[in-house]
């Protein structure tokens, strides 16, 4: 800068100075010599962030507290405003109303109602969402391969919506025709192929209809089923609260940092199966990284043979994977997006592994 600064620039600087800024800082003389860089104060108080799940009396990982001191939202989302109870959502499967067709085929009937609803996507932050059955993500629909699936869709929202199911179906059931507000449409098809799928609104503008909340998980089990396991649904989603095409919030199952404050309990040695779906809008990819463990990956769940044994998986938008793993040691273990930015914007949590024999 060396004297090339005009008086006008000086005044602009003054305005910046008010805000702790300098334009292209060159520091020279002794005046600023005392200005030191701040040091991260690691350790110290554990922070109120991990208030929950201390009840098991487990050996907890203190470094996990210290390392994330400072990070996170302030306050709690009120679950009745959240649009989803992240803990319940993990294991809530809608198998539909079951009956038998004359052919002997199993018929599963579901109802999805599109509504407008304001949800709380971070403590104190409201979001004008569009929902299936008043929740974001919509309910997890589940069927067995070969079942007849009949979904009655009621559009009770203020805009045209519809449902596009991933999987096999007729052209008429493709779910790209908008269903006007107040109208009903019935989607009907045979559940196939088996795997982990997705359903979402397919009305233009697509970005808006999806990121405002019209999406959910559609699981088709293989005819012979999968081995028994603790099954958890994780929808990697995000919210652009100011509609500028960039997300302010990243999460699994809508509420940022939720499983950090309320770790997910699993048992030592128990088989855990995660149905992982990426519906993140405005970012092409998302990922999951598991601490202190590796998992088997079944891409899209369409094969019963895992393709990979890893600790990090990356999914494009709408890509899915089933992950299977067991924890050999009890304790608290982190999982999160391995894009640090997503992690620090809310997509992070803990598994609390309860030792064998503990209640």
């Amino acid at each position: 800068m060396g004297g090339r600064l005009s008086r006008r620039e000086l005044f602009r600087l003054a305005a910046l100075g008010a805000t702790g800024a300098a334009a292209g800082g060159v520091s020279g003389a002794g005046l600023m010599a005392g200005a030191r860089a701040a040091r991260a104060s690691a350790g110290g108080s554990g922070g109120g962030m991990l208030a929950a799940a201390g009840s098991t009396g487990l050996p907890q990982a203190p470094e996990a507290h210290g390392a994330h001191e400072g990070l996170g939202t302030v306050g709690e989302v009120e679950l009745r405003h959240a649009g989803v109870d992240p803990m319940r959502y993990l294991t809530a499967f809608d198998w539909g109303r079951v009956s038998r067709l004359p052919s002997g085929q199993t018929l599963r009937e579901y109802q999805l109602v599109a509504t407008d609803r304001e949800i709380e996507v971070a403590p104190g932050v409201r979001f004008a969402a569009w929902t299936y059955n008043a929740q974001v993500p919509g309910p997890t629909l589940r069927a067995r391969e070969g079942d007849r699936v009949r979904v009655r869709f009621v559009n009770a929202g203020t805009h045209p919506h519809n449902i596009h199911f991933h999987g096999f179906h007729d052209a008429a059931m493709d779910g790209i025709e908008p269903i006007a507000r107040g109208r009903t449409f019935v989607y009907e098809f045979d559940a196939a192929p088996f795997g982990l799928h997705l359903y979402h609104c397919h009305v233009q503008p697509l970005k808006r209809h999806i990121h405002k909340g019209l999406y959910g998980v559609f699981i088709v089990d293989p005819p012979q089923g999968r081995p028994p396991a603790r099954e958890l649904v994780m929808m990697m989603n995000a919210f652009d609260t100011d509609f500028d095409g960039e997300n302010e919030i990243y999460a699994v199952n809508t509420v940022p940092f939720y499983y950090l404050r309320h770790p997910i309990r699993i048992r030592q040695h128990e088989l855990v199966r995660i149905y992982l779906v990426n519906i993140t809008e405005f970012d092409p990819i998302n990922s999951l990284h598991l601490h202190a463990n590796f998992f088997h990956v079944y891409p899209t769940g369409t094969s019963l043979t895992p393709s990979e044994y890893t600790d990090t998986v990356m999914l494009c938008q709408a890509q899915r994977a089933i992950l299977e793993f067991r924890y050999r040691r009890p304790g608290r273990f982190m999982f999160h997006a391995h894009q640090s930015e997503f992690t620090e914007l809310g997509w992070t949590g803990f598994f609390e592994v309860i030792p064998d024999g503990a209640v």
């Binding site: 910046l16 300098a22 939202t73 409201r126």
Partner: protein
């Protein structure tokens, strides 16, 4: 006016007010704006007025300059949610202020990006381009800013006053040349100050109407000072005493201008802009020396006591020190805008008084070749010495 007549006047005065109140109530209750309420998102405007960086801590001062209360729901630093406290409250009423304290391990020399996420999902962003610890008002900084003010403001003005013996020895025509020259200097400074005030108003919260603030500051000072001068000058009479009052006024106007200069210097130094140092200080010294000349020009033919020179020099120069302190420690865009607007108003008032003095002395022969030349030379001097700091 009888008592009944007086009552009638009061009644006639109040009746429209009562009617207006009734209309306001009607509007609020049955007004047509309900149509818009659902259609438009709330208007939320938070202005970040000052960010103080301390060891491992970022302190953000915000003002709500929008029409409605704003609730800061969450705070993001460098694209990460960060825990924080807000005093007095998360919800900031219209024109209310709040202080957000974030324990954040910022890194010296790197930028800090702040985002305030409001309850409606709106994001208010504020960037600190280069993080530097904010100066705490300790003795070392105080001494540094005082020295800066002395070098840039006080010393040059006193040096300028030393032109007095020179001016004394000149004839009436040359005295008028230098008075015109003073007018040129002042007009230049006035325009400069006004421009700076108008530039700074961008940082003023919207509800405080920066442009109007500048207008009120300039015109209020100009008219207010004119009234004061009317009274003082009438008391002082038209002769030497009147000219001395004018000299003091010029010193005051220049002092207010220098306060603004000090503000800018203090704030710039506070954020580590030290490298601009020596050369800029020298430029300011040269530039401001001419201000001393302007102060003594009206009294060139009189014999004011030495004490007067001392006081006038302090009046014109010392505010630079005060400005540097304010700029370094408690800078606010609103205060700076107001200070500069007042400075501009004072300077323009002084130009007006100067013109009156010369018109009185010269009859209607104000636009002589000498005077016009003096005025232009005054502008030119300011322009040329200004190049050293431009």
């Amino acid at each position: 006016m009888g008592p009944s007549e007086r009552r009638r006047v009061v009644l006639y005065g109040l009746a429209p007010l009562a009617l207006l109140a009734a209309v306001v109530v009607l509007f609020l209750r049955y007004g047509p704006l309900g149509v818009f309420e659902a259609a438009f998102p709330p208007v939320e405007r938070l202005t970040v007025e000052r960010v103080v960086l301390r060891d491992g801590e970022v302190v953000v001062h915000v003002t709500n300059g929008g029409p409605e209360p704003v609730t800061v729901a969450q705070v993001l630093v460098d694209d990460a949610y960060w825990r924080h406290t807000i005093t007095p409250d998360r919800t900031i009423p219209r024109l209310g202020r709040a202080v957000i304290t974030i324990p954040y391990p910022w890194v010296e020399g790197e930028p800090v990006a702040l985002k305030l996420l409001t309850s409606t999902g709106l994001v208010i962003t504020h960037d600190v381009p280069v993080a530097v610890a904010s100066p705490a008002p300790d003795a070392r900084y105080l001494a540094t800013f005082t020295l800066l003010g002395l070098y840039v403001g006080v010393i040059p003005v006193f040096v300028g006053l030393l032109w007095f013996p020179f001016l004394r020895r000149l004839g009436r025509r040359w005295t008028h040349f230098f008075l015109s020259l003073t007018g040129g200097l002042l007009v230049f400074l006035g325009v400069d100050t006004l421009e700076e005030a108008l530039e700074l108003r961008a940082g003023v919260p919207e509800a405080l109407q920066g442009t109007a603030l500048v207008a009120v500051g300039v015109l209020g000072t100009l008219l207010g000072l004119t009234l004061v001068v009317r009274r003082t000058a009438r008391a002082a009479g038209g002769g030497a005493a009147g000219r001395l009052v004018l000299a003091y006024l010029i010193a005051l106007g220049i002092g207010l201008h220098n306060l603004g200069e000090g503000l800018a210097i203090g704030a710039a130094y506070a954020v580590g802009e030290i490298a601009l140092g020596t050369f800029l200080v020298l430029g300011f010294m040269l530039h401001n020396t001419t201000e001393g000349l302007g102060i003594v020009a009206p009294v060139a033919r009189d014999r004011p006591g030495l004490a007067h020179f001392l006081w006038m020099g302090l009046l014109a120069g010392a505010p630079t020190i005060l400005g540097a302190w304010l700029g370094g420690f408690v800078y606010s865009p609103v205060a700076a805008t107001v200070f500069l607007a007042i400075g501009a108003g004072a300077i323009f008032q002084v130009v007006y008084e100067l013109g009156r003095l010369m018109a009185q002395q010269a009859g209607d022969e104000l636009m002589t070749a000498t005077n016009v030349a003096g005025f232009v030379v005054g502008l030119a001097i300011m322009y040329l010495t200004g190049l050293f700091v431009a």
